[in-house]
Amino acid sequence: MQSKKLGWLLLSPTLFILGLFGIFPFIYVLWVSFHEWNPFAANPEKLFNWAANYRKLVFDAQFLASLGVTLAFVFFAVVSEVVIGYILAQAFMKDFPGKAFFRTIHTLPLIMAPIIVGSIWKLMTTPSIGIIPHLLKNFGIDLNIGQSAIAAFCITVIMDIWHWTPLVTLSLIAALVSLPADPFEQAQIDGANKRQIFWHITLPMIRPALIATVFIRLMDAMRTVDEVLMLTGGGPGSATRYVGVHIYKEVFPKTNYGYGSAISVIVLYLTIVICWLLYTSLIAPRNKRG
């Protein structure tokens, strides 16, 4: 009983901070989402309107379109980051000249604020002055992310990969370094090839770290705002108007707090459901088997 009390006592600072900065804001947003509230309108009062905001969003073509492009963005970005991150992690497990230098350089994007990343990529992709359109011109490609929806989408995905792959690499390096050597030696003695070793030894052993990294990246990618807002502003048209950008535009320029809160709640719901489905399908069956 004493240790139980001590446990709660030790947990209390974390629970207090979680409650203050996590649970309370969530409950407030949930409450606001059931109101019509525009503090800068003629009537700045909160008006309770039951599910009117949710009724509006299920018919909001712009929101549904933004949800679609967000899911595509998350899929392409996270899959690419995991694949490239794993390849880089395996490369960093081997010795080569300049390894320490390259590892430092490759981690640099990770410490940059997203708004800075957006600015850098905006400079690099601006048709008249950017290096990327300049280089692509040599191959006959005219890159203009202000005009081409596909180009804008691809550049935002590439920017996200550039920004966040180092996180995946570092996580996977940590996982790979901690693996015991015995199973690999045993497999080599038994004549397993590289592909078999990867599928049957490496992947199952780094699975927890890999899944944790995928969850972190998935949740982060679902709420991408600043770098995309800086790079494309959600355009051209609504090609890169991801849900984060959509919420920003509803809440700040339009000051439509109630509707913005409803969208935020639904995006949180979708993020939780996607993570839960992944968790249930990838981790829970393993735990059950023991």
């Binding site: 599910a51 949710y54 009724r55 299920v58 018919f59 639904i266 719901y269 939780i272 459901v273 839960w276 968790y279 249930t280 829970a284 069956p285 059950k288």
Partner: protein, 66 residues
Amino acid sequence: MSDDKEAAKPGFLPIETNWFDRLFISVVIWVALSLFWLRFIEPLGLSVWIAAAISVALGAHIIRKG
């Protein structure tokens, strides 16, 4: 899903769950059904409260027997 092995019990759900997991699943179904109802059923004239009633009944069943 469940860390609390003592409270975990097998039910009709394909995964091992405790009561909180089943409550979570019920809430997820409630929200999904409500959104579906608002989009497709309510325009036909059926109130979203029917979806809430179905969700509560389904949730109670999942929590008890899931």
